[in-house]
Structures are given as C-alpha cells and as structure tokens.
Homo-oligomer: 563 residues x 2
C-alpha cells in the first residue's frame, strides 16, 4: 500500500456533484468513531463516540472527536445517525448536542435506549430521538438513508446506505458475519448484494479485525463451554464481561439457570444496561433467576452466580475489588470459579493479569479466552471481509474504525478482491475524501486533534499539559519559595524547598539551599526586580543541581513573593 | 491448587539437617530473579536480576530484589552463581556487590562477559569472577555444585545441581528443550536423568511458559522465514530484536549475507553485546558483512540491513526513532521491510503498536510474530516441562520465575506427573521453604519489598511516594502560598495559587482566592501560630472547592512563610 498522505492543506468548499467525507474520529485509533458526509451544503453525521485514554494521557477521563471542523456549520447538520449503542459510537453525543441541542438523532430502539440516560445526565431535553429499524428509509435533504441489520457484540446494530446525487455510500458500522447469531438477526448480505447491483460508489468498512485471518467463531459456541464450566464448578461462579454484551450475559444466565444457580448482577453499568435490555425484550431472564445483592449471600455458594463488570482489570470495578478482597459483599474462597467471558483489549494486559494473579492467589480457578472458548470477537475477520467485498463489489473503499495497521490490512483485502489500489484511499482522522465522478480521492485535511474530557473541563487540557503531567508523574516536583522585600531587594524568608514524588529525602536539598540563596540575593537588587526574574535565577541553580546530583528532571516550581 | 499462604511469620534459625530456600525475587513476577539457599550457617545465592517497572511504578528505572533478609549475613555468603546473562538474572549483581564487593561470583564465559561492563560502570574492582562450564563442579563449604548446560534465548546458559547434606536441589534457571538448537548445545536431559537416579529432593523449575500448551518451536525454523522475507524485500530491511539474543542475530546476519546485504548494528546495547559475543566465538560474522553506521548509507537501499534495538516499542530506542522519523541516519521509505524478530512482552502492546502504526504510516511492510514465524520463546512450554518432571522425578517441586498464574500452572504440571500436591509448595517472594527429611514445606516469610532504583537513589522511594507520583501524574497539583507576619498574624502577601497539570485555566482559581484568604486570616492570630496550622486551613478550603467544583483530586500544596 502507499504511505499515508503528508502535508495536506485544508480543502476548499465542496465542488458541485461531489460527496465529501470527513472522518473526525476512528481512523488511526480504536474509538471515538465519527464520520461526516457533506453534499449541497448539508451535513450528515454517522456516529459520535468516545475514545478511552492510554497511559500517555494520564488523568484524562475521555477523548472526544474534534468538532471544530464543523463547529460553525452545525445548523447545516441534517441528522446524527447512530449505528449501535457502544460507547465508541454514542459516548460523545451529549458533547455534540451541547453545541446544538436540536440535532435530530436517528438510531435503533436499543441504541436510543442506551443513549437516553446519557442525555439526562447532561440535562439535554430538546433533542428529538427518531427510532428506526432495519428496512426503514429516511429522507434528509440531499441524503436518502436506508438501514440494514448487522450482527455485532451488541444487539440491534445497523449499517447505513446513504444515497446522494453524487453517488452511494455504504457504511458498515461495527459488524461481523456470524451466520448463526443468538437472535438470528444476521448481517443482511442480501441487501448488501442488492446495493452492489445498484452500485456502491464508496464502501466504508470496519477494519478492527482485518489483520485476523479466517472467520470469527459463532457466539453460540460459547454456550456449551460455559455449560461445562458451570457443570464442574463446585462453589461460587463469578463471570466478568462487558456491560453492554447482552448476548453474552444471556448465555451466562442460561447456563446459570440450567445449573440451578441464581444470578446477581454487579456493577452499575451492568445493572442499568441489562435492565434496559430486558425491558425491551433483548434479554430474556427466566422467572426467579435474577437475585438481589441483599439476598444472594443467603444462598449456599454452589447456587450463586455473579455477573460482574471489570473484565479489563479496571481497578475500581467489581472484579478487581473481589480480587483484592475489598468488594462490598462478594468474598472469594478457594475453589471458586472466575470466568473472563471477554476479550483482553490490547494495552490492558498488566491490569488484567494483576487481577487474575490476585484471584489465583486466593485459590480461584480462573477460566479465560487463552484457555477456553469463553469469548468471541464482535468484528468481521479477514475471511468475512473478503465475502463482503465480493458481494458488494464497491467502486471505492475507505477503511474505517482502526489503527493504521488495521486500516492498511483492510485496504489490502479490498485490493485483493479487485478494487483498484487507486480507489482505496487510506485516511486518518481529519483527512478529507471527495467522491466525484465515481472516484474517491484524498483532497486535503482539516484540523483534528484529541479533545480531552478531564473532570468538568472539555478541551481545556492540551498535549503540552499532558506532557507536564507525565513529567510530574515520573519525576515529581521541586518547589522553592522565597519572600523578597520589594523596596530593598532584601530576602526576608527562604529560599525553602518543598518536594513531592522526588526519590530523595528532603534533607538532601539542604546541600543546595545556600547556593540558591546566593543566586537569589544576587538577582534581587533594590527597586522592583520583577518576580519572574528572581524565579528564573532560582530555577537555574536548582535545575542544574538536580540534573547533575540526582540524575533526574523533576518539574521545578520557583515561587517568589514580593512584599 | 491451594491458595497461597497468608499471615506467615518470620521463621526462626535453620534447624539441623535442613536446607532452607529463600526466594528474594522472581516468584510472583517476571524478573529480579534471586534465590538464596542456606545450610549450616552458610548461604549460596543463585542469580541476582532486575525487574522492569510497570505503569503503576512511574519514573522508576529498575526494581531490585530486597536484600534486607540477608543484609547482615553477607559474610556468610559462599558464592553468587549466575545461570545466564539476561538482565533479570544479572542486572542487580552490582547493587549486591556494593554491599560486599568480594562475594565470589560464578558463571559461564558469556555470562561473566556480559556482567563485566556492569561492574566497571559501578566501579567494582575487587570481585573475583570464576568462570565455569558445563560438567564442572565447585565445592563451596556445605554446597557442592555441578553445572549443566541448558538451552535458552541467550547462549551459554546453565542449570545448577546443588548437593547438600540435607538433600539435593536442582535449579533450572531459564531454559527450554529445543532439540535442534543452532549451537547444538541442548538442555542436558542425560544429566537430569542421572540426577533423578541419584535423587532430586527439590526441583526449582522455570514457570514462564507453564501456561502455554505443547512445545516451543525450534529456533532454527525462523531461518527459512527470514530467508523468504529477505528474498522478497526490494528495499531496506530493518530487523528489531533483543540485544542479547545472539542466535537470533546470527540468523539475521546469515540471511542478510545470503541475500548480499551488509548488516549495520544500531543501538548501544546491540553493538556492545554482539561485539562481546563475536569475540568469544558465540556469534559468527562472515568477513565483510558488518558495516559501520558511517558507511551504510553509501550502499544502495537493497544492500542495507539494520539490526536494531527497540522491539518492545521503547520510545528512546532506535526503532521508535525510525518510526517517527527522528533517527540520526536511518530514514524509512515506502516499500521498506521491518521485521520484529521478537516477542511482544505483555504490557508493551500500546508502545509496540504505536511504533508499528508509525512504520506503516510511512509505507513500510511490517512483519511480526502475529503474522509470520519470526520469533520463538526461550522458555519451556507445558509439554517440555512434563518431560522434565518425568525424567527427574523430583521428590518436591518449587515453581520459580513467574507471576502467580505461571507458578500455579507449573505446580499443576508437576502434580499431573505424580508429585504429591503436598510436595509442591507455592511460594511468593520472601516465602521461606525448608527441605527436611525429604519434604519441602513453607515455614514462614521474610520481608521482601520492591526496592526501587530511581536516578541515583536506591531504595529511597516508597510505595507511598509512588502513589503521590501517580496522583501528580493524573491530577497535577495546586500550590497555594502566602506570607504571614509572625508577630501580628497579618497576611502580608497572598494567598496566591500556582497550578501545574490541572485541566483548568489558572483564572478559574480566582473564584476561590478570597475564600482562602478569609480562612487564612481567621487562622492567623497574632503570636506565632505554627505554619502547619495555617497550611491546614488553606488546604481544607481549596481541597473541598476543587473536588466539588472541578471534580478532581489534585495534590494540594499549601505553603505559608512566616516573616
């Protein structure tokens, strides 16, 4: 494949007879999926999700797509269409709606049900939610939409066919092609074929598993494995999985029911989501199987099953608390069984294995994907993607949803099925692709940064400040403060050194205090030497000494108060 | 298996006719391997390695074994025996020798050659290095040692049979059982069998791969794969691997030579180690294959091969610099090939994939373990361990080298081959195992903490301070300073707020300054109110406000200067 584009300019306005695609998230990362389509001065947005921070983004709660490219165009937005209810597709919706509350939102029943609590939390009341289902069509100005069912690791997911005067775009959302899904709602390849006959000018395809050869195993193959684990379990069973994986929870509930166990849901999101899913009929809980946390401990251990969050080793989640013996009511005993019915998301290895080691230390029997078939992916593997390309036979392909390595792998698959390499633009977030006269090509790039949510602040913390945090976190800081009499330049107090997170005893710094005092006294002449000059003088001496003597580079914070 | 022991006491002195084993590192983690044997008042130490920090140990350079349990017994140490030259087995030797420089050190030729530069760096000159080889025996007071060759991912590795009056202990070091290793130096199962006949009372066995079913693939199977990749490469080839993996580098050199490429070693440790290995005859470099970094760029791209460090995504290593375009002289071009001839050590996924994405962004073809057989492990898988147990038929087994999950898996394998569960003690660092009358059992625990090397400080930073760093790193700090006149209690200046790493504009804090001023004025009465009381008053107000208003918990640093 070709390298990614470099040094692109911001493109001009959309030319006539052109469909423009502006990915604002999800291309170059796994998360914060958001794609903007534009034609005839109108915008259509598909998905608006969050990305979870990595270790080089410390303290950040969430990362949003960068809305700045469309911030002054929000009145032109015809609609926001959501393909399914995962956080990386709906999590940033409230932040977008805070900019314009009455953007019409379209999505399936479960997707909207998972969105609603978020809108409430952000006190958004004026948004119109339009429920749509497979087979429905929606006309929105220059965009004509048709919704298609796809299988994923959450029920009620949709792909969207977008018809415009400049051509048709088909966006898969997240999907796989399990031919025997639990709810028998398969990815609708008949519609994909029909669209192919009609002509798909641009096919935007989920790249997550494009590097994985072959085919994703059927979700239902997990059932017999769970059944066997439950059959052998002699004491408590604890299952950890994702709080939105309705079908996985269904299989756990079925296995528990069969083996005469009652299920206690633990973790706030697990409880809330499963309540919604059950109310809407996506989850089928047999009478008397669920049990409340206040009653479950009255059952004998061999009748208890806990369905918990925390499968990624999140330190505050239920499972981590069970592993370190600090959970409110679940107490692990030797001989208990813990099942990780979940993937191990890359980057979470240390925290997950920390939890697993903790559980095994207490004598638990731990069952996970590495040992037994207790998880399958929600995304199409390479083999499935090839089927897709051959059925749709798209004119152009834009790989979406993935890191560069996933996008490249997906693009290669498209080329293998006969799509000309020139018609497979590789794009990152912000890279603009125009579809004109049947050909899609990169025409420029709009700014697209990480937008950090941190406490109550949105977009206020910069990459520069994150670097500051990284330094503080690995090196700590040395603050030095002194009081200087403005009129005389006399040093009234200090310099005194305060340290935090530095690998030294505070007494070590006595060695340098006199040198700092000298530097300060020298810099502080009578008559209003600005504080920042005095601060500079102290910073220089301390910085040099710390680097040489301690071999570290902590943050140096000089504070001079003039009185 | 049984859960690990809890609430153990420090054991009394070693009883008569007893061999005591005190693991000071490597049991409960992958790294800092160190095992102490004691009998008749004398100590023998096997290995003394370092552990590399995880993300919850920010800023730490290295983690050492905790020597405190033997710190006042160093004169009783007969010898330190090193099984092989990896950092996790020799990296902490200088720190131990700094406590007693003349501990006699035993190891194979290559192991000692890898140790020597470390001793120089720490200016240790009085240590006697005793070179030993397979088949050699050494009598050291109550310990009689015999060295046995084992195969590992570094040449010249040894297992050690330790004979004592209380029984025989066989410690494998790190090993695998490749039956066709490159240097034909196989793990000596004939000696293992002989020891078995004689009687192995305690078998200490590498657990690293005990969870991996089957058998580790032969190192030599990588050769043809490299050959094929080199045959297809049309431009530059860059290979990343571990700087100590002599056989892997050998295979790369052979493939490069065959395909008329010259090899440039990049990365300080790669250059140094391969120089040592070549001088000692462990690495065979054909005449005219190596090329200097000053000349390599004069060759056409299709004749260049770079052998680099950085396979774990280390941001300062050669490969990461190549991936982000900042390397001193290697410039990646579209169509270049990059081979990760290395494992992906759990926990490094994010940094490794960051590098891979960077390389692919520039148009490189990236080959790694997930796609092609370009790496095999250096440790015995479950299948090999079973052979081992059946050949040795040990009376007792102590799983070493691994996290809890590895130790448990290894213990299970021993039990499967017929070792009674009661004779397979599971121990963590510091847990003391006594071998008496043919039975090994846990008798107590000595303190065994993480000892952090941080800049020039060793063991000075505590877990408490690391928590401080974690908070600083994710939340930043809010410092507030004020000057108070001691005699009158008048506030002369401030309170002024300084922030770093907090996700807010400094102006937000103006809102609280007056409230802090009031609190301070109230607390500061005439006549020497201690500064810490005034600081407390400011901390309370700010802490409460920040939590409520900003929803964050930064470190609060109140500073009051009294003049």
């Amino acid at each position: 494949m070709k390298p990614l584009y470099e040094n692109l300019q911001v493109p001009g306005p959309v030319p006539a007879d052109t469909l423009r695609v502006i990915p604002l998230g999800g291309l170059g990362e796994v998360g914060r999926n958001m794609t903007v389509f534009e034609i005839d001065g109108k915008l259509l947005i598909v998905d608006c999700g969050v990305l979870f921070p990595e270790e080089n983004q410390p303290g950040v709660d969430l990362i949003l797509p960068d809305f700045s490219a469309i911030a002054d165009r929000l009145e032109d937005v015809q609609a926001l269409v959501l393909t399914h209810g995962h956080e990386d597709h709906i999590g940033a919706v409230p932040y977008l709606l805070r900019l314009r509350e009455d953007i019409p939102v379209y999505g399936s029943e479960l997707t909207l049900a998972f969105l609603e609590p978020k809108l409430k939390e952000h006190r958004l009341q004026d948004t119109e939610l339009h429920q749509v289902a497979e087979g429905d069509t929606t006309d929105l100005g220059p965009f004509s939409l048709e919704y298609v069912p796809v299988t994923h690791s959450i029920p009620d997911a949709l792909a969207v066919m977008i018809r415009t005067s400049a051509g048709n775009a088909l966006i898969t959302g997240d999907f796989k092609m399990d031919q025997l899904p639990l709810d028998r709602r398969i990815t609708d390849l008949r519609s994909f074929a029909r669209f192919g006959e009609e002509g798909v000018d641009l096919f935007l395809v989920d790249s997550t598993n494009a590097e994985v050869p072959g085919f994703t195993t059927h979700e239902r193959e997990i059932g017999p494995v769970l059944d066997q684990v439950f059959a052998q379990a002699e004491s408590q069973v604890i299952v950890a999985s994702f709080a939105s994986h309705v079908h996985r929870v269904q299989q756990v509930i079925d296995a528990a029911a069969k083996h005469n166990r009652r299920v206690c849901l633990i973790g706030r999101s697990m409880e809330r989501n499963m309540k919604i899913a059950a109310e809407l009929g996506f989850l089928n809980i047999p009478e008397g199987v669920l049990i409340d946390s206040r009653e479950v401990m009255d059952l004998p251990p061999e009748r208890r099953c806990f369905m918990a969050t925390g499968s990624q080793g999140e330190p505050m989640a239920a499972l981590a608390r069970i592993a370190d013996g600090s959970h409110r009511f679940v107490e692990l005993e030797p001989g208990d069984t813990v099942i990780f019915a979940s993937s191990l998301i890359p980057g979470n290895e240390n925290s997950v294995f920390r939890v697993i080691n903790g559980l095994m230390r207490l004598g638990a029997n731990v069952v996970h994907q590495g040992k037994s078939l207790v998880h399958v992916s929600g995304h199409a593997s390479a083999g499935e993607l090839l089927y897709c390309y051959n059925i749709v036979r798209p004119k152009n392909v834009l790989p979406i949803h993935g890191e560069i390595r996933h996008l490249v792998a997906n693009g290669r698959l498209a080329v293998l099925t006969g799509v000309p390499e020139d018609n497979v633009p590789l794009a990152e977030d912000g890279v603009v692709v125009d579809l004109y006269d049947g050909h899609a090509q990169v025409v420029g790039q709009v700014p697209c940064d990480y937008v950090y949510v941190d406490g109550r602040s949105v977009g206020e913390i910069s990459d520069e400040e994150l670097k500051d945090r990284m330094t503080l976190g690995s090196e700590g800081f040395v603050a030095v403060h002194a009081v200087v009499e403005k009129s005389t330049g006399m040093v009234l107090a200090g310099p005194t050194i305060t340290i935090r997170g530095v690998a030294e005893d505070a007494s070590v710094f006595e060695e340098i205090e006199s040198e700092v005092a000298e530097a300060l006294a020298e810099a502080a002449r009578p008559g209003n030497v600005p504080a920042h000059q005095l601060q500079q003088a102290m910073r220089r001496v301390i910085g040099r000494w710390v680097g040489r003597r301690l071999r570290r580079r902590p943050v140096i914070v000089p504070i001079v108060t003039e009185v």
